[in-house]
């Protein structure tokens, strides 16, 4: 009996040892679909897995500050002062778009058109019915029902919320003064759901709902997304092209700490709600080999994961930006003993 217990204990320990090589990360639900795809491809190539918990950007920031994970993921970039105070550094990993989804019988994906000001009024609770004249003005040929609008937003700390709220604040002064833009807000109206997955689910099953999700979730669940009127005044549809048009205007090299938000870009074909998702790591990591494994994974993703990203309508970072990022790794991240971790 004792021998069986000893063997079982040894086997359990050995098994956990073999799993110790997995990279651990937590944070944003926004990039989770592409991180999961990259992780699966990386594992078949190298055997190293990624354990990513999509708990929201707020959770990602909290966990990396608590040092429970190797990297934190957040769609809201941290300010330079916050990074310096905690000894962290950040870099963008992928660019994606957030779309509005609605649940109205008879409306097809891409049929409804909204703009920033009208959307802000809906989320402020100033517009409460679908056949309101302001929505009708943007959609003269759509048969809008006399139904109450059920607003769905995030209940957890979310970088997607930060992107969406930044877009609303840039287009509506009441939103900017009353609510503001952050990962968690005091929403004037609506029901809260957890994660991009929760909002997608809730919007799908509530009649007359409107919510905001990352584009991959809308596409994967066949949801009814809307078109938006961008800053240039053009009505654009969410797609890899419109996201890339917005990302093309980003000047990453001159942004300290890569702190850039890509909403409301002026390019004619740009999708208005685009943002990068950031990875946050320590400059002096507690476990340098684990961080090095994670950096190698992202290096692989930058160089070979572009097609997988495009397949999910995320915009991969261009090669010159990757160079700037890897230079920032070499400059900022120190391994054990004080030397640079990334060569």
């Amino acid at each position: 009996m004792k021998r069986i217990l000893a063997i079982a204990l040894f086997a359990a320990l050995a098994w956990t040892q073999a799993k110790a090589a997995d990279i651990s990360g937590a944070g944003a639900t926004f990039p989770y679909p592409i991180y999961a795809k990259w992780a699966a491809a990386y594992k078949t190539q190298t055997g190293i897995g990624l354990n990513y918990q999509s708990i929201g950007s707020g959770g990602g920031i909290k966990q990396i500050k608590a040092k429970t994970v190797t990297f934190g993921a957040s769609d809201k970039p941290l300010k330079a002062s916050e990074l310096d105070e905690a000894g962290l550094t950040q870099f963008p990993a992928i660019v994606g778009g957030t779309v509005l989804v609605v649940n109205l019988a008879g409306i097809k994906p891409g049929e409804l058109v909204l703009d920033g000001d009208t959307t802000a009024k809906i989320f402020l609770g100033e517009i409460t019915q679908w056949d309101d004249p302001k929505i009708k003005a943007l959609n003269p040929n759509v048969n809008l029902p006399n139904k109450a609008i059920a607003v769905v937003h995030r209940s957890d700390g979310s970088g997607t919320t930060f992107l969406f709220a930044t877009f609303l604040a840039q287009n509506n002064s009441t939103w900017s003064s009353q609510v503001g833009a952050d990962t968690a807000l005091q929403w004037p109206v609506g029901i809260g759901a957890k994660g991009n997955e929760g909002v997608a689910n809730m919007a799908k099953q509530t009649d007359g709902a409107i919510g905001y999700v990352e584009y991959a979730y809308a596409k994967q669940n066949n949801m009814t997304y809307t078109k938006l009127v961008n800053k240039a005044g053009k009505t654009v549809e969410p797609s890899l092209d419109s996201f890339s048009a917005a990302a093309a205007g980003a000047d990453w090299a001159n942004a300290p700490g890569f702190n850039l938000v890509l909403t409301n870009q002026t390019a004619p074909d740009a999708w208005p709600i685009v943002g990068a998702s950031f990875i946050i790591v320590y400059k002096h990591p507690v476990d340098p080999p684990a961080l090095l494994t994670a950096l190698k994974f992202f290096d692989w993703a930058f160089k070979s994961g572009g097609d997988l990203a495009k397949g999910l309508d995320y915009v991969p970072l261009p090669a010159n930006v990757v160079q700037v990022i890897e230079k920032s790794w070499a400059d900022n991240i120190k391994g054990g003993g004080g030397g640079t971790l990334w060569q």
């Binding site: 708990i55 929201g56 950007s57 707020g58 959770g59 920031i61 909290k62 966990q63 109450a148 609008i149 059920a150 209940s155 957890d156 700390g157 609510v179 503001g180 833009a181 952050d182 990962t183 968690a184 807000l185 005091q186 929403w187 109206v189 609506g190 029901i191 809260g192 759901a193 957890k194 809730m202 099953q205 509530t206 009649d207 007359g208």
Partner: protein
């Protein structure tokens, strides 16, 4: 029964067997004392750590924390009124819906039920209690909420919602989820607890009492209401308090279906939040000391509410007992 004092001097045993037995007895006594002490220490530790954790929020906001409805993570202003209101309202709805149904089930099982159904019904009630609360949450979100949104809620809004005074309670767009749905789920969850205790307590009524009432010509309803319930009121109140305690603290089932809106709405069909749902949703990502401290302060407030409910139950029982003895 002989009066044995615990600390009486025990004469030293002389034989080895006697000494071994004494040692075992001593170990047994000390270890059980230690376990009992652990429970007290644990309770004290929880109260102390809650107060320490909540201290920054309590000193920053003062008493206004309990009555303020604001919950703004951007400007770091927090108030507990919306979660407290939601906790109380969902528990009241759960009690209004759950207690009569539980009494009905218990009465049916003890008085009216054919003998062959008693066992299966009893087992079914126990099984309801065994379902994990998160399953209730998932069932509520995917099955109950759409049904409510499409049938029950529009009906309520169109009928009672149009009435002059209480219409405000049933107004608003039919979301499917909300305070009312959470109350229904909680009612289903507290049902097994109240039912099984009430049924056990009903069965302690002496048959002679009931037979006498029947003999005098009472109907079943009169026997239940005027003989059985007054006899068992202590146990029944205990059962209701147990159900209420469960409803106040229930987390996962409520988080799924309450809608997570930090607002006090007049309509019970509107989304709201409870203390446990707020903590469950926001604790992992509360960035900043004041935010985390406000969540811990919410936990402290729930602890105090539960304590007051239990104390009130105890006082009520003591008073009933005294009345009964007169």
């Amino acid at each position: 029964m002989a009066n044995v004092t615990l600390n009486a001097a025990i004469p030293a045993a002389t034989s080895t067997k006697g000494r071994k037995q004494q040692l075992q007895d001593l170990l047994f006594r000390r270890s059980t004392e230690f376990f009992a002490l652990c429970v007290l220490l644990l309770l004290g530790g929880v109260i102390v750590s809650l107060i320490i954790g909540a201290w920054p929020a309590l000193t920053t906001f003062g008493f206004g924390f309990v009555v303020s409805e604001v919950w703004n993570p951007v400007t770091d202003k927090f108030g507990a009124w919306a979660p407290i209101y939601g906790t109380i309202v969902t528990s009241i709805i759960a009690m209004i819906l759950g207690v009569p149904v539980s009494f009905g089930i218990a009465m049916f099982i003890t008085e009216l039920c054919p003998a062959v159904l008693k066992r299966p019904l009893g087992i079914a009630i126990e099984l309801l209690a065994g379902i994990p609360s998160i399953i209730y949450g998932i069932w509520g979100l995917f099955v109950l909420a759409p049904v409510l949104q499409q049938t029950v809620q529009p009906f309520l809004i169109d009928t009672i919602g149009q009435a002059p005074l209480i219409g405000g309670l049933f107004a608003g767009p039919p979301y499917g989820i909300g305070t009312f749905t959470a109350g229904i789920i909680l009612a289903i969850m507290v049902l097994p607890f109240i039912t099984s205790i009430t049924r056990d307590v009903f069965e302690t009524v002496p048959p002679m009492l009931k037979e006498s009432a029947y003999g005098l010509g009472s109907t079943t309803w009169e026997v239940m209401w005027k003989v059985v319930l007054p006899y068992t009121r202590v146990g029944v109140i205990g059962a209701v308090m147990l159900g209420l305690g469960r409803a106040l603290g229930e987390t996962m089932a409520v988080t799924f279906v309450i809608g997570n809106a930090h607002r006090v709405a007049q309509s019970i069909l509107a989304p709201g939040t409870t203390i446990s749902a707020t903590i469950a949703n926001e604790f992992t990502e509360a960035v900043g000391d004041l935010y985390t401290s406000s969540l811990i302060a919410l936990g402290l407030i729930l602890f105090i509410i539960t304590f007051f409910i239990l104390a009130a139950a105890k006082i009520m029982l003591m008073r009933l007992d005294r009345q009964g003895k007169k």
